[in-house]
Symmetry: C2
Subunit: 308 residues, 2 copies
């Protein structure tokens, strides 16, 4: 009983969330950025880690998702993050995403308590699935132990996949541990479970092993190239294209990534408002920004213009 391939496969971006001066989300910038991403073949994993998703209230996330749908962006390409610390919030966001027609949701485990049991995490995910109780729901598990600290074991995936075949649809593996990603693909891909690497660093490896693609922060600022690499992964030159992606990523990864990506978009669009982040993050200082610019210029990187 394996699900048919989703409309999400390939490359998605945890879409950066732009802010206005007093830090409400900036809807016009957000819609414009999402439109540019979709045009590049990049799906919309809004409200992820690099989206500052957990720095947004439930009401803000509902509002932003509604704004995207109203702007005509395709829900078939959306995988909003809906996992929070509080069960009622996760249920509300997940239900809202399903009702908006989103192809999937990316669900963090509750991440405040550390060292919790697989039984407790199973109950967390199953409580949400049971409460939403909608056959359209597709859950992508979000495994990001470096940040959430609470991870998703192979045993937990097995149990969830057996209990909710077709609903538990895949995973984003941001462990940074290829052995784990490969083990998940080997164990579950044959059952239609879609495995996304947590960055394009593992894109080629993931696709070659039978995974579905990647959900990568850098797709915010290098989306066209990452999507092209994913589309042509079987064709000659794939390793060279992967190496080019890695060079761009390295320049961003040397700095606080969210602030660095926002700075690159600010430069590309001429809109300095793009630099804003919510606390506890801070924007790049002038020196860090000069360093980023120098590194990006050295590799001939063209900043995003978001279609202007």
């Amino acid at each position: 009983m394996s699900a048919s391939p989703s409309t999400l496969r390939g490359v998605l971006s945890p879409v950066l969330t732009p802010f206005e001066a007093d830090l409400p989300p900036s809807v016009p910038r957000f819609v414009r950025h999402c439109r540019a991403l979709v045009a590049q073949g990049v799906g919309l994993a809004v409200f992820g880690t690099n989206s500052e998703g957990n720095s947004l209230s439930v009401a803000e996330k509902r509002m932003l998702l509604d704004a995207l749908v109203e702007a005509g962006l395709p829900a078939s390409r959306m995988m909003p993050g809906t996992g929070t610390c509080a069960l009622p919030d996760t249920i509300e966001l997940t239900r809202h995403a399903v009702q908006a027609g989103c192809a999937g949701v990316l669900m963090l485990p509750p991440f405040y308590y550390k060292g919790v049991s697989d039984e407790g995490l199973y109950r967390s995910f199953s409580s949400v699935i049971d409460a939403v109780a909608d056959p359209r729901l597709r859950v992508y598990l979000y495994h990001i132990p470096p940040v959430a600290q609470v991870g998703i074991s192979l045993r937990l995936i097995e149990r969830l996949l057996t209990a909710y075949p077709g609903v538990v649809a895949g995973i984003k593996d941001s462990s940074g541990d290829w052995n784990n990603t490969n083990a998940v693909i080997e164990a579950f891909a044959a059952r239609g479970f879609e495995v996304y690497a947590g960055s394009e660093t593992f894109l080629l490896q993931t696709l070659r092993a039978g995974g579905a693609g990647c959900i990568s922060a850098t797709a915010n600022v290098n989306g066209a190239a990452i999507a092209a690499s994913a589309a042509a992964w079987r064709e000659p030159g794939a390793d060279d294209r992967q190496a080019a992606l890695d060079r761009v990523r390295a320049a961003f990864q040397k700095r606080p990534m969210i602030a660095a990506m926002k700075a690159a978009i600010a430069t590309g669009t001429g809109d300095e408002g793009w630099c804003r982040v919510r606390p506890p993050l801070v924007e790049l200082d002038a020196e860090a920004r000069r360093g980023l610019d120098a590194d990006l210029d050295a590799i001939g990187y063209a900043r995003p213009t978001l279609g202007t």
Copy 2:
């Protein structure tokens, strides 16, 4: 410019949150438990870590706080947890607590992103204080690195205390590191900054060093004895009383503490509904509960009856 001593000094409890069968909070059980705690001389640090506070939505926390005030419980003894990952949520909860007349709020730093800078944390706390903009606000910083992972440094306290004297009122130190608690007391207590140990394990040491008391999970189930020890800390027998507190704590600490304390209240009140926890936590299984009961019986511990 040191503040006058607060009405909170002594012993507070991160009040356990009871749930109904489908896991909404149980208001009647909550009010009754809070009433029993106050009668024992224990203040109400509702929505803390041992309250499953981060497993509650903003609306649920507002509702529960309103229920306590409506039930006539004294806001002068309340220090609700209001720190979340999302700035708008923290502002909303903090504002609500101030408007309810709470003597203070216990504020976690935003805890999703790890390795954030003191500058980012300073902006987090100062954004909340500036947004609430109420002279009645008293912020107690919540330092609990074993769970939140994001801690509060002495340098950050110094900066906040200098910028917001009288508003930044104290700290709960749940590091479990006496050297840190002692350093905070030595650096800031003379300025009226109230230092609460994160458990009664350090109660006597904290009071002797010039701290304000403790905010301890076990005060949910051993409140009268902990409050009595705090009140009589200068009198003969203080070390023996501390040793007795430690024996009770040890029995609870050997198990998942929240589930164990709820089980003890379930036994004491005869109300098995008290055992419920929200995912990702799980209740004690039968074997763990038998072990807890045996340990508690061995030390002659009397379970809480909540005034019945």
